[in-house]
Symmetry: C2
Subunit: 466 residues, 2 copies
């Protein structure tokens, strides 16, 4: 009897154990939609991108390549990636240009041979030479295009200052399309005008808003040509200058700048990495550029992209997401006036024979994300578009646009699928390269949504390939 009881007890115990064991089925893997929801919730509830941007812009500030501040930003990014939980953080050394604005920057329209004058807001374009030590004064003529300049020819241009006054076209929905058309006068205005003997150029700021803040940005010279000083005038200044040129025959213009180019400096990309679960040499990278122009504090351009990229690492760690491949956040140096950081990154990727599944940059401002542009094969584009239903609940609906980040150019040339976060672009050129690009113009949620969008896309590519 005892035996039977024991057997019965043993039998039922085994059955119970079996039931327990079999009922402990592992929880089903979360769907991509569930993971993406967790990513967005994490960004919107516990996000650190906004406080990081506060520090970068308000405690460090402007950080043009070669400046002391840009090195402080490197140190900060290193620590911020560690704090985000990166498995490894390191620097990539690169040489960068070093241009300084100086402390003199003013301009005026001169009437009646100097009897009266009206000041206008200008700033030196990045890379410009200085004016003579006591400034430059000459008659000013206005042109709307290079064609018009060419028609005027040497006879009408020689010895004068050329004013390029080509407004951005407001009819483009995407303001970057208008920028693409207008920016050539900033980049090449000086080298085109000097061909006809101009002594200086004034370029209308690339902005769709009429205000009194000049917008800087990089300009270039041709080695074979004489270098003449180049400044940007505010959009309001451009209107006033244009009106006065029309009203005053032979109007003179004066501007004074003591900017200068110094020898190249050592600087760094900052790279933070999360190791993938399959220990492969495959990478998905996210990035923004750490350098900024010197007028504002580079909040949208491109503090936003840097803190969003660091946020991607933080989100993966906070949610304990295990990507198959390695995830990297890259804070590129020197996007604004040289692109040396992007080149250096691509160089190292080649040397190390790293396989990049994709590279995603955020360099279009910390506004509500609307989609991703891409430079990919048609098949990859279709794959991206097939993920649209996963992103639409977060207002991200546009995967059609071509293009990717400037820092990814060299990587893209080696065949890496390159993408860029596409935020709403309406406000971007109100701030771009101007003293108005500051922290207070960034909305916390808009910034956080951009970081979450990048993390979600990284998750999809790391999980499913592209």
């Amino acid at each position: 009897m005892v035996k039977k009881i024991k057997f019965t007890f043993l039998f039922f115990s085994l059955v119970a154990l079996a039931l327990v064991v079999f009922s402990f089925k592992p929880a089903p893997e979360p769907t991509d939609a569930e993971t993406i929801k967790r990513i967005f919730n994490e960004a919107l509830t516990n996000g650190t991108s906004y406080s990081n941007l506060d520090y970068l812009t308000n405690k460090i500030g402007a950080r043009l390549s070669g400046s002391m501040n840009s090195l402080k930003a490197v140190q900060w990014a290193f620590q911020a990636m560690k704090d985000a939980g990166a498995d490894s953080v390191y620097l990539q050394e690169c040489m960068v240009p070093h241009w300084e604005r100086g402390d003199k920057e003013n301009a005026k329209m001169i009437f009646d041979g100097g009897k009266t004058a009206i000041q206008v807001s200008i700033c030196a374009l990045g890379g410009s030479v200085a004016t003579p030590a006591d400034g430059l004064i000459a008659e000013i003529i206005e042109v709307k295009s290079f064609e018009e300049l060419s028609k005027l020819g040497k006879e009408k241009v020689a010895g004068k200052i050329v004013f390029f006054n080509s407004p951005m076209n407001p009819n483009h929905l995407e303001t970057f399309d208008a920028y693409g058309e207008a920016v050539k006068y900033r980049w090449a205005g000086a080298s085109e005008a000097v061909k006809y003997g101009a002594v200086g150029v004034v370029v209308r700021s690339c902005s769709l808003k009429e205000d009194d803040y000049p917008h800087t940005g990089v300009m270039g010279y041709k080695d074979t040509l004489h270098k003449i000083p180049a400044c940007a005038i505010s959009t309001k200044g451009a209107r006033i200058l244009s009106e006065n040129i029309k009203a005053n025959k032979n109007l003179e213009f004066y501007f004074h700048m003591n900017c200068k180019t110094l020898p190249d400096e050592i600087s760094y990309n900052v790279v933070g990495e999360i190791y993938g679960s399959n220990k492969s040499d495959e990478y998905v990278i996210v990035g923004g550029h750490l350098d900024s122009w010197d007028l504002g504090t580079g909040a949208h351009d491109d503090g936003a992209g840097v803190v969003q990229s660091i946020e991607v690492l933080r989100i993966f760690k906070a949610l304990k997401l295990k990507p198959k491949c390695n995830i990297r956040a890259v804070a590129f140096m020197n996007e604004e006036n040289g692109g040396r950081g992007g080149e250096k990154y691509a160089e190292w990727a080649k040397i190390n024979k790293e396989k990049h599944l994709a590279a995603i940059e955020s360099d279009a401002g910390g506004f509500t994300p609307r989609g991703f542009s891409s430079e990919v094969t048609p098949t990859q584009k279709e794959k991206l578009k097939s993920w649209k239903p996963l992103f639409e609940p977060y207002g991200i609906h546009n995967f059609d646009r071509d293009g990717s980040g400037a820092d990814l150019k060299k990587l893209q040339e080696t065949g890496v699928p390159c993408l860029e976060l596409m935020p709403d672009s309406q406000r971007y050129f109100d701030y771009h390269h101007a003293s108005t690009d500051v922290f207070s113009t960034v909305n916390k949620r808009e910034l956080e949504l951009g970081g979450a969008a990048m993390a979600a896309l990284v998750w999809m590519i790391a999980t499913h390939g592209l």
Copy 2:
């Protein structure tokens, strides 16, 4: 011979005439896509909504129903609709509530029986009674919900001030969804708390941003219950108050407000009309509300909607578009604390037996338009969605959401298809009902795109029905 020449001449003349006549084929009608492109270009190039909003907010300012400013706004809207080219402009009289904030509004946490105190930012909720003449002082208790309040019961609530501290949920993509959950404490907090003997309520401001600006908004009493004073505390103040309640047993709170409700006043909706080509009694209307809260200057809420609606008229006139039905812009009075203007409009529509093809309100801020929400039949929803390809080039991609403007409620109840412009909602509650809702927070292009989106939808409905 003469005859033959004459005949030949006549013959060839007739042939030539026929050729000329038949070659003057009328130009083909522009496609809807072409008309919509013209509408957007007109708004972005020659738009007047931004300068109108500048005037309404900066020259007139806040315009709560019943105030002198609200009547100035009526006069202004009348003239602005005339200037936009309306064929007819008229007023619709309605009686509106008249509540005034008064000139006393302050609050503090009181420690150790009054030895020390810390000020916090509050404002009276719209419609609240005043505190006693020298303010109200009582122990304060915090609750997160009505359920929690009910559990505390009379024993713990009687004689105290109740602090409703239910933050908006940041995880909703559409901030209006978070508002919808949180706003009940503002509306019903006082009438719920008084059931348990509370002497006053402090309600956390409906905002997703932590800052020191309290947000007002309408609250309601129940006629059968005692009326206790109700104020909103800034989100930063809410955090500090909550921390201090936790750290200090029996913390006391003091607030002082001398707001009051005066007799109803006469006011007006302003209606501007463009006559349709088929002289029917059919209407498509666009609208926003002219009244605003008194803390800011009602730039987003809802100056934006008013100037966009007026812009719809201007665009139709400037482009010489000939809608088949009549188009009306309506500047509704009293959306914020009564909805009397919307009721009056629906009343007149019924009396005059007007057939409304659709009514579109803009009352969610002057931000980049993302879509239109609607209260329509499934068939109408499908028709709206079939137009999506025409709107997507302008970033307008969402026609799925249900809902429409508060001013259209009564019209909607009579079966009119009602819609609302759906701008990007991320920033809205940073400004909503607070002193921060001012002109400088509105971006010109974003505002213009919203007006263009409304004009384009009006065109589609007027041309194809809904």
